[in-house]
Symmetry: none
Subunit: 221 residues, 2 copies
C-alpha cells in the first residue's frame, strides 16, 4: 500500500486527486495540506511514501516545502512529486535541486498521475514536460554546438541583419545602423526568413537562439 499526502492550496484540486488516487486499490491518501508549512508538518507526522506537492502555495511554496521535508534526510525520506500547472523551466530545476523525485503537469491524465505515483514510490525518478529540452540544451552548450545548415547559407549581409534583428531593432533602425536604405534591409530580411524557413522576424530570432547562431548573453552565463 502506497501512502500519499496531498499538498495543494485549492480544495478542489485536492479532492480531485484524492478521488483519482483512492480509486486505486494499492494507493491511499493519508493526509492533506493546504500550505507549504502545513505540508512539512503533515509529512513529518504521517511519514507517507509519496507527497504530491503543488508549486504555488501560500506562506511557503512547494519548492521550499520540499527542501524542508528532504533536508533532514533521515531514514526513508518520502518521495516528493512536484505538481504544477505550467512548465516553467525554473520550477523543474529548482524542484530537482530540492530533491524532488519527479515533476508532473496538472494537465496530465488521471492514469498518468497514478502511474507516476507508483513509479516514484518504487524509488525511481520521473520527469515530465518539455522543460527537459532545456536540460539537454544546457548540456549541449557545454560541449559541441552543431550549427544548422542554414547558417552557412546566409550571406554576410544577411547574417548581419539577423544579428541586428536579434537585438530587437526594426527594419528602419537596422537600415540606419548599417548605412543602407530600408528597402535593402527588407530584402535581406526576406532572404533570412526564406533561408531559415521562418515566417516572421520573431521566428527568425527564435531560430537564431535555438541554433546557437546567437547565444543568450546572460549576466553570469
Amino acid at each position: 500500500m502506497i501512502r500519499i499526502v496531498l499538498a495543494d492550496d485549492e480544495r478542489m484540486v485536492r479532492t480531485a486527486l484524492r478521488v483519482i488516487l483512492d480509486a486505486e486499490p494499492d494507493l491511499e491518501v493519508a493526509g492533506e495540506a493546504s500550505t507549504g508549512a502545513e505540508a512539512v508538518s503533515v509529512v513529518r507526522e504521517l511519514r507517507p511514501d509519496v507527497v504530491l506537492m503543488d508549486v504555488r502555495m501560500p506562506e511557503v511554496d512547494g519548492i521550499r516545502a520540499t527542501e524542508r521535508i528532504l533536508a533532514p534526510a533521515p531514514e526513508p525520506a518520502p518521495r516528493v512529486l512536484v505538481v504544477t500547472t505550467f512548465e516553467n523551466d525554473a520550477y523543474v530545476y529548482d524542484a530537482l535541486r530540492a530533491g524532488a523525485a519527479g515533476f508532473l503537469l496538472k494537465r496530465a491524465a488521471a492514469e498518468d498521475l497514478v502511474a507516476a505515483v507508483r513509479v516514484v514510490a518504487r524509488s525511481d525518478s520521473l520527469l515530465y514536460p518539455a522543460a527537459l529540452r532545456g536540460l539537454a540544451a544546457a548540456y549541449a552548450r557545454h560541449r559541441p554546438a552543431a550549427a544548422p545548415a542554414w547558417v552557412a547559407r546566409l550571406t554576410e549581409r544577411e547574417a548581419e541583419v539577423l544579428r541586428l534583428m536579434a537585438t530587437g531593432l526594426t527594419n528602419a533602425e537596422i537600415a540606419r545602423r548599417m548605412g543602407v536604405g530600408p528597402a535593402t534591409v527588407k530584402t535581406h530580411v526576406a532572404a533570412v526568413l526564406a533561408k531559415t524557413g521562418t515566417r516572421d522576424r520573431t521566428q527568425a530570432v527564435i531560430a537564431a537562439y535555438e541554433s546557437g547562431f546567437i547565444a543568450p548573453a546572460g549576466p553570469g552565463a
Copy 2:
C-alpha cells in the same frame, strides 16, 4: 490503438517487449527493426505512434536513428522512447537533444514500460532513471541565473502567452492554443510588453531568452 515499432538488435529483447505490449488491448506492435538504419525505414513506412529505440545497435545507433526519424519533422512525428540498459548520462542528453520524447531503463518493470508508452503516445514527455539526479545537479551548478524582476510580476496568463510567443506563434494561433479570443491575447501581449519594457513581440522574446525565462532547446521541439 497505439501503434508501436520496436528497434533493438537482440531478438530476445524484441520478443519480450512484444509480449508485454501486445498483452495490452490498446497497444499494438506494428513492426520491428534490428538496426538503426532499418528502424528509420520501418518507421517511415509504418508511421507508428511510438518507437521504442535501443541505444546500442549495429550500423546506426539509436541516437542517430532518432535524429533521422525526427529530422524531417513532418506532421505527426512519432514519439521516440529511448531504451537502454545503462544510465549513462551522456545517452540521456544525446537522446533528448535528438528529440526523443523519453528515456527508459530496460530494468523498468513491465507495467512501467506500458505506462511510459501510453504517456509518450499522449504526446507528453517522460524520463526515468536516477541519472536525472546527476543531470539536474550538473545543471544546477552551471546555473547562476537570477530571473529578472519582471518575471515575478507576470501573471499566470501573461507568462503563458509569453511562452507561446517565444515559440513563434501569432496572436491568433496563441488564442486558438489557449482557447480564448484573439482580443484577449492582445491584451495579455500588451501587458507583457509593458512589464518587460519591450515594444514588440520580438523584443519580448529576446528578453525571455536573455533572462533565462525560457531556455534554448533542441531542434526537435
